[in-house]
């Protein structure tokens, strides 16, 4: 496998315009002859489907939800970054680019990140034109807030529901194209596999979740925008349906999987309350603008927070990282929380929580201002925990949140299988080893609204791919394989539910492949995952019908893929003998416990090629060349 990033030559700030100038566009009259399949209708997929339909392509879109409006993008709270410089605080495309590269600990591709920063401003313009009700100041102009990892105020937001409003914007645009019959929408259909003929992606096999029947669909190009894999940890902030199946099945068909070990642990989540816990709820990190994080100085201090005097509190982020303080990046904040809890200074009955305290901000600004900014988050907290956060500090703890890793793509967002494009969280492209807050929405929309319409145009400009009918033997073969796997699940006849087994996998991943990793632990994890996979295939229990809606089968099929994928994640973490971004290897840290990067040996993208289940995949390296930035230390002190 050869990984050619296809980055255009020339100066960084000219690459994208040069790319567009060089491509041979498809004749508008011919566009409807090209069929594009879009899998996933969140920010990236929904935006791509709507925009490609506006351009005249023949689009079919697929979601396992009952409606495209349910995609998990909807849950993003805090905001979306854009280099608008509306605050006149010195922001620029370059600064957003640099912050993102640095935030990713210099493990992303310069050209992709620069393009992201370049189109960021257009996203705000476009979303506003579509009626997204961003927050405004009294003068009527758009409002901004600050986010972790940046010293300028460039985050646009819609209360604590920015993801919802942007997704509903995408959903509106998509709905318009569905009404115009430019997009054929397939709800409640889950992609089960990619079909590859002569080395080219020619379509997909989907499962109708109501009838349990399989269907084949042909596309001149296939776009995966199927989100991230943080649910491999079982407990995460991801929605319950989130899974790795689409990406993982593409990987099994030959698409390289890049940097799976880069998984983000979000510092501000509501702590776990018991074994019944089905997911963890994130509290937007925008809260860290006004909340101060602390734990008692003394280990084992079980006093009521109000009874702990100021001088006996440790505002550890402010102490350790004076210039960024409570706004330090996510990985740094998460590890700092873990460290103070490991020292026995954690709060809550479990000892696995830290305080996020708003009393200073409420005294300074008044409760009304805080309620205006974060009202819905405070309500959410009170609902879940049963404690009023205006009166008592919140308790938070890190939780698995986002996958920076994903399918490898080139500058065109095309995977290593020609004709298969990957967008949004599902690709590995822009966030390196760690994603900054408010950058996921930016990337999803950049990919969907602005990048793919151009790169797919360039791809199709080379000529119309040959149509492969869905009765082609390869389609039939893949359908049979998918059906056999489901039948195999149904025939295990063991004792454990898919959820029970998923919980066990999550426990292994969180313990050995979570916030801090080491060689021994990772080797152990690989063995444990392999054993658990055996257990899965010998002890899985499925009940209910197999020819009508059955959520147990859906869940089992997704967990089966996690059981294989988890191992790749651990291999990647084991191979990367350095600490960078969200990947923290205990063997590689400075004396103060900070991540120690190794640019000499690990300045590359690790792209894995499937070799068979249980076999170590082949590692391919895409060297990261930094022509325009200097690889600095990622210091937030």
């Amino acid at each position: 496998m050869i990984l050619d990033s296809k980055v255009p030559s020339g100066p960084l700030e000219k690459k994208w315009s040069q790319f567009k100038a060089d491509m041979k566009p498809v004749n508008p009259a011919n566009k409807r002859k090209f069929k594009v399949l879009v899998v996933g209708t969140g920010l990236a997929g929904g935006a791509a489907a709507a925009t490609l339909a506006e351009l005249g392509y023949n689009v079919e879109a697929f979601t396992y939800h009952d409606s495209p409006r349910r995609a998990h993008s909807i849950a993003a709270q805090g905001g979306i970054n854009a280099a608008k410089n509306y605050q006149n605080d010195g922001d620029s495309i370059w600064r957003l680019f640099y912050d993102t590269i640095k935030g990713g600990d210099f493990r992303s591709r310069e050209a992709n990140v620069y393009r992201l920063a370049e189109v960021s401003a257009n996203i705000i313009d476009q979303s506003t034109a579509m009626g997204v009700p961003f927050a405004r100041e009294y003068g009527g102009y758009l409002s901004n807030r600050s986010f972790g990892g940046a010293l300028v105020s460039r985050t646009f937001y819609a209360r604590g529901q920015t993801g919802q409003q942007l997704l509903l914007g995408v959903y509106a645009a998509l709905s318009r194209q569905i009404e115009a019959k430019k997009v054929k929408m397939h709800n409640r259909k889950e992609m089960m596999d990619v079909v590859v003929v002569d080395g080219r992606a020619v379509g997909i096999v989907v499962r109708d979740l109501l009838t349990n029947k399989l269907e084949s669909h042909y596309g001149d190009a296939v776009i995966l925008a199927t989100g991230g894999y943080a649910s491999v940890f079982y407990l995460s902030t991801n929605a319950l349906y989130c899974n790795v199946t689409a990406s993982y099945r593409a990987y099994k068909r030959g698409a390289a999987f890049a940097n799976p070990c880069y998984t983000q642990i979000h510092p501000t989540c509501i702590p776990q309350s018991g074994d019944h816990q089905s997911k963890l709820t994130l509290m937007s990190e925008s809260l860290r603008n006004d909340g101060r994080i602390w734990v008692p100085k003394k280990a084992g201090d079980k006093r009521n927070p109000a009874d702990i005097p100021e001088e006996e509190r440790d505002y550890y982020l402010e102490r350790m990282y004076p210039s960024y303080g409570n706004l330090s990046p996510r990985d740094i904040s998460s590890r700092a929380a873990k460290r103070v809890c490991d020292e026995g200074r954690g709060v809550n009955a479990t000892g696995k929580a830290v305080y996020l305290d708003f009393s200073d901000a409420i005294n300074r600004l008044g409760q009304k201002v805080i309620a205006d900014r974060y009202g819905n988050l405070f309500d959410m907290y009170e609902n879940i925990i049963g404690v009023n956060p205006y009166k008592n500090p919140m308790m938070i703890y890190p939780a698995a949140h986002y996958a920076m890793g994903g399918l490898w793509v080139d500058y065109n967002l095309m995977s290593s299988i020609p004709g298969l494009f990957v967008l949004g969280e599902a690709n590995f492209s822009d966030h390196g080893a760690n994603r900054l807050g408010a950058s996921a929405l930016m990337q999803g929309l950049a990919d969907g609204y602005f990048v793919i319409p151009n790169t797919i145009n360039a791809y199709f400009g080379k000529g119309k791919p040959q149509t492969i009918p869905t009765d082609h033997p390869e389609f039939k073969k893949v359908e049979v394989e998918v059906q056999e796997r489901i039948t195999k699940l149904l025939n295990v006849n063991g004792k454990q539910s898919p959820t029970q087994l998923h919980k066990k996998l999550g426990a292994i991943m969180w313990e050995y492949v979570g916030m801090a990793r080491n060689r021994e632990g990772l080797k152990k994890a690989i063995g444990l995952i392999q054993e658990l996979r055996e257990e899965f295939w010998h002890d899985l229990k499925i009940v209910g019908p197999d020819s009508y809606l059955n959520p147990v089968i859906e869940k089992a099929s997704r967990v089966a893929d996690f059981m294989e994928f988890a191992e790749i994640l651990a291999y990647d973490a084991l191979m990367r003998e350095e600490s960078c971004g969200a990947h923290f290897r205990e063997e590689y840290q400075t004396e103060e416990g900070e991540a120690k990067r190794n640019d000499k040996d690990y300045s590359y993208v690790a792209a894995w090629e499937f070799q068979g289940v249980g076999k170590e995949p082949i590692l391919h390296k895409e060297d990261l060349k930094f022509e325009f930035v200097h690889l600095g230390e990622r210091s937030y002190k």
């Binding site: 935006a47 705000i124 405004r136 109501l210 309500d379 609902n383 879940i384």
Partner: protein, 249 residues
């Protein structure tokens, strides 16, 4: 605590349903209502029984996937919250709880508590958007919008499309849903060019789908997990009249 759950079981759309009683011991007050159902389902799987089918995804009150009727009220008695945000501490030891799917002819039951809400999608498709192709946008600050207007539009835009309003309405009207979306756009300058056509097209689609009309029961507002105000229905009525006037009918 111990809970007696009376749950609607219906294997498919055509089948007749019935209420089935399940008793759950050891329910923790910290569990969410859906986590309590998860526990029930795990027990059913262990016994080899078909678990209760219900939908949920984000479990934080934003995606609108969850939705069921608890003791006669969509999303249960806690106001301003979805069922996934409802916690067992709101119930007492020994409580009998009745759990049913939304009851609405436009939302047919697929299985147990699982219903088909695709009619809401089709209402949006009729006009719930601003027709602005990608690439055509001016600078976002080119048109300042008074904060009050933007905030009001945001109040309307918070709708999560869960279906509770229509399920709660004695007339089976989806007026609050339609009003929220129409108001969101019609309040904003961006929505003005299509203001009249949007109101008419969306109301017409609502009627064509088989939803009833609004006669001001306001049950929708009480059931709405996002506290969307019925004042938006009044605004929709004004926009609708304006549309009729514009079109001379």
């Amino acid at each position: 605590m111990r809970i007696n759950l009376h749950v609607w079981r219906q294997p498919n759309t055509e089948a007749k349903g019935h209420i089935q009683l399940y008793t759950l011991d050891d329910v923790s007050p910290d569990m969410s209502f859906l986590e309590m159902l998860d526990v029930l389902n795990e027990q059913l799987i262990q016994k080899g029984d078909d678990p209760v089918a219900f939908e949920s995804d984000c479990r934080e009150g934003i995606c609108g996937t969850c939705g069921m009727v608890i003791d006669g009220i969509p999303h249960g008695k806690q106001s301003g919250a979805t069922v996934c945000q409802l916690h067992m501490r709101k119930f007492k030891d020994g409580d009998d709880i009745y759990v049913e799917p939304y009851r609405h002819t436009v939302f047919p039951v697929i299985k147990d508590l699982f219903v088909d809400r695709s009619a809401y999608d089709r209402i949006i498709q009729a006009g719930g958007y601003v027709s602005a192709n990608v690439g055509s946008a001016p600078d976002a600050n080119a048109n300042p919008i008074p904060k009050g207007i933007a905030d009001l539009a945001m109040d309307a835009a918070q709708c999560i499309g869960c279906g509770a309003c229509a399920a709660a309405c004695p007339n089976g009207s989806a007026m609050l849903f339609v009003a929220a979306k129409v108001s969101h756009f019609n309040l904003l300058p961006q929505g003005q060019p299509e203001k009249a056509t949007r109101a008419r097209a969306m109301v017409k689609r609502m009627e064509d789908e088989g939803f009833g009309g609004c006669s001001n029961y306001y049950e929708c507002e009480a059931a709405c997990p996002k506290n969307i105000s019925v004042r938006f229905i009044a605004k929709l009525n004004r926009d609708y009249l304006y549309a009729a006037f514009k079109e001379g009918v």
